[in-house]
C-alpha cells in the first residue's frame, strides 16, 4: 500500500496497465512529454516510449476517431480529453461510432477505448473548464460511464475500464484530484493522506462497475450521489447530525439499482445530489427508478440537489456549486414530512 492522491492513483493505474498489456496505449493533448495538464500521465512516456504514450494534435474528434481505429486493430487505447468541456468535438465519434460499433456489426467489431476526462468545478475554471456532462453520455446506449470519488476507487475503476471490452467514459472530478473536498472553499485543503481511501495498492487490482459503495450506513434517509458531491453530502449530513445512508454510485452505467433501492426501501426517504445541471440531468433518472421501484416505501417526495441550469459562472462559482447548505436544505425537506 502507498499514500496516493487521485492523480497519482490514476497514474499508477495506467502505469500498471502499460506494464501488463502491450496493447495498452495512451493518447491525448499534452499527455506525453509534459505528463498532462493535471500530471495524470507524468513519467509514463519516459518509461514506455513515444509509441505507447502519444502526444496528439488538438482535435478531440480525431483523438476519439483514431482511438476507435486502433481499438479495431487490437490496441486498447486510453484517450485523455483534457477537460470534459472539450469533449463535444468528439461527440459524434463517441455517440454514433464508438458506442454503437459492437451493435451495428452484431459483435464482429468492437473498440475497447477508454476516454478519461477531468470534470466538475471548484477550480475557478469558468464555463469552459467546469462542466459535468456525464448525463449526456449516460443517455447514449452502448457506452459505460464512470466517476470515482477517491484514489482507491479511481485506480481500481480505471483498470476495470481499460480491461473492459466495451467503451468507457471515465470522468475524473478534478476538484478531488488532491483531496476529499467537502464543499467549503474557505477551509484549508484536506489532503488525501488523511483519508483511508488515499491508501492505494501499488499493483494491479480492480473495482467492479455496477457496484455502488455505501460510504456511510444510516437509517434516516438515503443520499444517492457520486463524484465531488460524495464529500459534500457527508458534510451536510454531519452538520445536521442526521443518520444518513450515503451511496457513492461510482459507475452510472451500469447502475447499481439494487443497492439504491434496498437503501430507499429501508429509509423511506431519498435525496439525489450531483454537481451537473438539474434539468434532464442524471438525477432525474435516479428519481424515476426510485419512484418506480420504491413508491410504496417512500415517506416523502424525493429531493434533487444539482447545479443550477445555467453555464458555470466564473464569478459566482460558489453560489453555483451545490454546496453542503443546499444538500442540508434537501435533507431537511425529506425529513420534515412524517
Amino acid at each position: 500500500m502507498a499514500q496516493m492522491t487521485m492523480v497519482q492513483a490514476l497514474n499508477s493505474a495506467m502505469d500498471v496497465m502499460l506494464g501488463r498489456d502491450p496493447a495498452v496505449i495512451l493518447m491525448g493533448e499534452d499527455i506525453g512529454y509534459f505528463g498532462g495538464v493535471f500530471r495524470a500521465t507524468e513519467g509514463l512516456q519516459r518509461k514506455y516510449g513515444e509509441h505507447r504514450v502519444l502526444d496528439t494534435p488538438i482535435a478531440e474528434g480525431a483523438i476519439v476517431g483514431t482511438a476507435i481505429g486502433m481499438g479495431v486493430n487490437g490496441l486498447r487505447p486510453v484517450a485523455e480529453i483534457q477537460f470534459a468541456d472539450y469533449i463535444y468535438p468528439g461527440f459524434d465519434q463517441i455517440a454514433s461510432e464508438l458506442a454503437r460499433l459492437r451493435y451495428r456489426t452484431a459483435g464482429d467489431f468492437f473498440a475497447p477505448v477508454t476516454i478519461r476526462t477531468p470534470c466538475g468545478g471548484g477550480i475557478r475554471g469558468g464555463q469552459t473548464h467546469s462542466q459535468s456532462p456525464e448525463g449526456i453520455f449516460t443517455h447514449v446506449c452502448g457506452i459505460k460511464v464512470v466517476m470515482p470519488s477517491n484514489p482507491f476507487d479511481a485506480k481500481g475503476l480505471l483498470i476495470t475500464a481499460i480491461e473492459d471490452d466495451d467503451p468507457v467514459i471515465f470522468f475524473e472530478p478534478k476538484r478531488l484530484y488532491n483531496g476529499p473536498f467537502d464543499g467549503d472553499p474557505g477551509k484549508a485543503a484536506i489532503p488525501w493522506s488523511t483519508h483511508p481511501k488515499g491508501e492505494v495498492p501499488e499493483g494491479h487490482y480492480t473495482v467492479p462497475f455496477g457496484k455502488a459503495d455505501i460510504v456511510r450506513a444510516g437509517e434516516a434517509l438515503t443520499i444517492v450521489t457520486y463524484g465531488t458531491m460524495v464529500f459534500v453530502a457527508m458534510r451536510a449530513a454531519a452538520s445536521l447530525g442526521v443518520d444518513a445512508e450515503i451511496i457513492d454510485l461510482r459507475s452510472l452505467v451500469p447502475l447499481d439499482v439494487d443497492t439504491v433501492c434496498a437503501s430507499v426501501k429501508k429509509t423511506g426517504r431519498c435525496v439525489v445530489a450531483h454537481e451537473a445541471t438539474r434539468f434532464s440531468g442524471f438525477g432525474a433518472e435516479i428519481l424515476s427508478i426510485v419512484q418506480e421501484e420504491c413508491f410504496w416505501d417512500l415517506e416523502a417526495p424525493i429531493q434533487r440537489v444539482a447545479g443550477w441550469d445555467t453555464p458555470y459562472p466564473h464569478a459566482f462559482e460558489w453560489e453555483y456549486f451545490p454546496g453542503p447548505e443546499r444538500v442540508a436544505t434537501a435533507i431537511r425537506a425529506v425529513l420534515e414530512r412524517t
Binding site: 486502433m70 459492437r102 456489426t105 468492437f110
Partner: protein, 433 residues
Amino acid sequence: MVTTSRLHVPRTPARPGEMPDFSYLQLSPAGAVARPEASAPARDIGALSLELVRVLDDDHVAKGPWHPHLDPEELQVGLRHMLLTRLYDERMQRTQRAGKVSFYIRSLGEEAVSVAQCMALRPGDMLFPSYRNQGVHIARGMPLVDLMCQLLSNTRDMCKGRQLPVMYHSVAGNIFSISGNLATQFPQAVGWAMAAAIKGQDHLAASWIGEGSSAEADFHHALLFASVYQAPVILNVVNNQWAISTFQGYAGGEQRSFAARGPGYGIAGIRVDGNDFLAVYAVTRWAAERARTGAGPTLIELVTYRVGAHSTSDDPTRYRAKDDHRHWPLGDPIERLKRHLIALGEWSDERHRLLTEELEAEIAASWKEAVAYGTLNEGPRLDSGLMFEDVFKEMPPHLERQRAAMRQAAASAATAARAAAASAAGASNPAKD
C-alpha cells in the same frame, strides 16, 4: 439590376433543362502525367494533386509511365468484378422497387474505384469503405448471398437486422463496418493504420469518402493525424461530382482540387481518372508502396461521375440535367476496360455477352437462396429479442428486464388476438356451440 455582392455562390453547371457542361473539369491527356518514385517526398510532387493521371486514351490504348502492365487475365478479373458489381446493383435496385428491400444505393459508373483499388491492395490491408463501395466486397470475394441477406435484414443478416441496407461488413474480408454518418471512417482508418505501425505490421488501411463528405471535420482530422504520424493509410476522395443534389463546388471543389488538400497537410495528393481502371490501379499501387515503405500517407482524388440517383430515395431529375452522364468526358469504366481488352485481342462482345449471362444467373440463384432465409415481409424472421444483444459485450440487467417486458407484451398481444379471433369465430357461427 446589377448585383455587386462580394458573396460568391458556387455555380452548378447544369440544372434541369440546361445543357450539360463539364468544361470546368481540369483534364490531362492520357500518359501525360509524370510518375515519380514512390519514395518521393510529398513536398516535391505537389503537381500530382492538380493534374489528372490517365492511362487509357480515347482509342482505348494504354500509355505513359503509369501503365501498370497487368496481365490480360488480371484485367479480365477486374472486368468481371466491375460487371458483377453493376449487375448486382441493377438487380438489387429492382428488388427495392418491388418492395423486397427497404432502401438501396447503387455505385453505377463508379465501379472502377472500388474494384481496381481493392485489387491493387493486399488481402490483409484493412478497408474502411463508404456506402458506395460495394465493389470492394465483390472484389474481396464476399458471397452475394451474404450481401443480399444484409439487404433483407433476414435470419442470415451479418448485422442481425440492425443496419440500413448496404451497410455491410466482413471480419474475414478485412472490410470495416459502414456507417451512415458521413466521413467517420476516415480518422478510424488512420487510427487502424497508426496501430499497424505501432505493432510493426506490414499492412495498410484504405478508406473512401465522397467529395461532399470531405467538408466534414473528420476528413480534416484524418489528414492531420495521417500527416503527423505518417500513418500507412490511403485516403480516397471519390469525387463523383454530386452530394445528393449539391454540386461539388459546394464542398470546395470549385477553387481547388480535392487532392490538393493533401499537400496542404504535407501529404502526397494525387488526382486520377476514376473511370480508368488501369490508372486507378496504378495510382493505388503507388500509394500502397508509399505506405508500406514508410513514405507516408496518400490522398487520392478519384474523378468520376455518379450516374445514378444518390439512393432509391432520390430523384436526380429534380436537380440536374437529364442524361448529363452521357456528356461526362471520362466515359464509363466498364466500357473502357472492355474496349481496351478487345483492342488487345483478349476479349470480345460475344464473351462479354456470355459473361453477363453467367453473372446474371449467379445473381438470380443467389437471390433465390437469400430470400429463403426471409425478407422484410415474409418467410423466417430474426428473433426481435436480438435487438437487446451487443449493446454491451454482456447484457446489463436493465436490458434483460426490457427484453422480458417486450416478450411479455408480445405474448399478451398474441393471447388477446387469439381470444378475439375465437370470439369472432363464435359470433359468426352461433350454431357451433
